[in-house]
Chain length 168, copies 2
């Protein structure tokens, strides 16, 4: 993959990229910055896997209540998860956490991280696999065009687009 | 997506996941831990975009030389990039950085982060798009089975697999 234009010079920075710096006009940095740290992504993983309740999340992740509470709050603020009340018989009402559409749309990120890790960290001995409920086949991410052509990395070019008129 | 078995209880932790803890038997956490921080992923992005030389990387990323040097070293140690000597006429020999196959295989991770950011952080006004050189169409990540069926998130199940006999 090759890039056509080069980006403009930027002042030297030693701190990690943040909103308003590198995240400007880069969707990769923007997404990583929005999600925050690995704990946020681990919480998302749990929500994808069908774990929705605070105590279950805490037990599965082995994380402190304050860290979990903070990361759930971040995911809710970001709009990728929402808190939904539930009530078990004889207990007080509690909240459980569900992915929104915006959150569900992070599934390709999860699956692509998983695919790479399965191949290179586990030599193909995948700890978790995701399957199509209809055909039972394993689901993986692929790079394709709208017309369905599967594209290899050496067949792609990156193109830098002009910002919208409102300066975003 | 729903998970069939649940994982065993783990001791409470307050520090972020690291190799040997959460990264055990989770390819998502493992990949994130291996890659390290957002700077590493920004360096990878540059290598994908065809920027290979230290000074060019430093200029594009606006990062300090020491941070860049550290992250390039990490990517080389991880085996996703390799250093290759080059020599401009009349200058001393220098190193440039190229993705290995292991690195190229991170492209779906980059593209899926990019897709989500384009949609939700830039309202579809993508700062950078990746195109198939043959058809000029935009390349995106899709979730598919080997037989080519495109699968929606609500059509998938996650399955936890038993570890290999050697305990990995």
């Amino acid at each position: 993959m090759a890039q056509t234009p080069t980006r403009s010079d930027a002042p030297a920075r030693t701190d990690p990229p943040a909103r308003g710096t590198l995240a400007d006009r880069c969707s990769i940095a923007g997404t990583l910055t929005a999600l925050g740290d690995t704990w946020s992504i681990m919480v998302l993983r749990e929500l994808f896997f069908g774990v929705h309740r605070f105590n279950d999340l805490q037990r599965d992740l082995g994380v402190s209540r304050s860290v979990l509470s903070n990361r759930l709050g971040r995911l809710v603020d970001l709009g990728v998860a929402r808190a939904v009340p539930y009530q078990d018989p004889g207990e007080r009402s509690r909240l459980e956490y569900r992915l929104t559409r915006k959150g569900v749309d992070l599934l390709p990120v999860m699956l692509s991280l998983m695919d790479w890790g399965d191949r290179y960290l586990y030599d193909g001995d995948a700890p978790v696999t995701v399957h199509d409920r209809t055909t039972d086949e394993q689901v993986r991410v692929e790079m394709r065009t709208p017309s369905g052509r599967r594209v290899e990395p050496n067949e792609m070019d990156a193109r830098v687009n002009a910002p919208a008129a409102d300066g975003r």
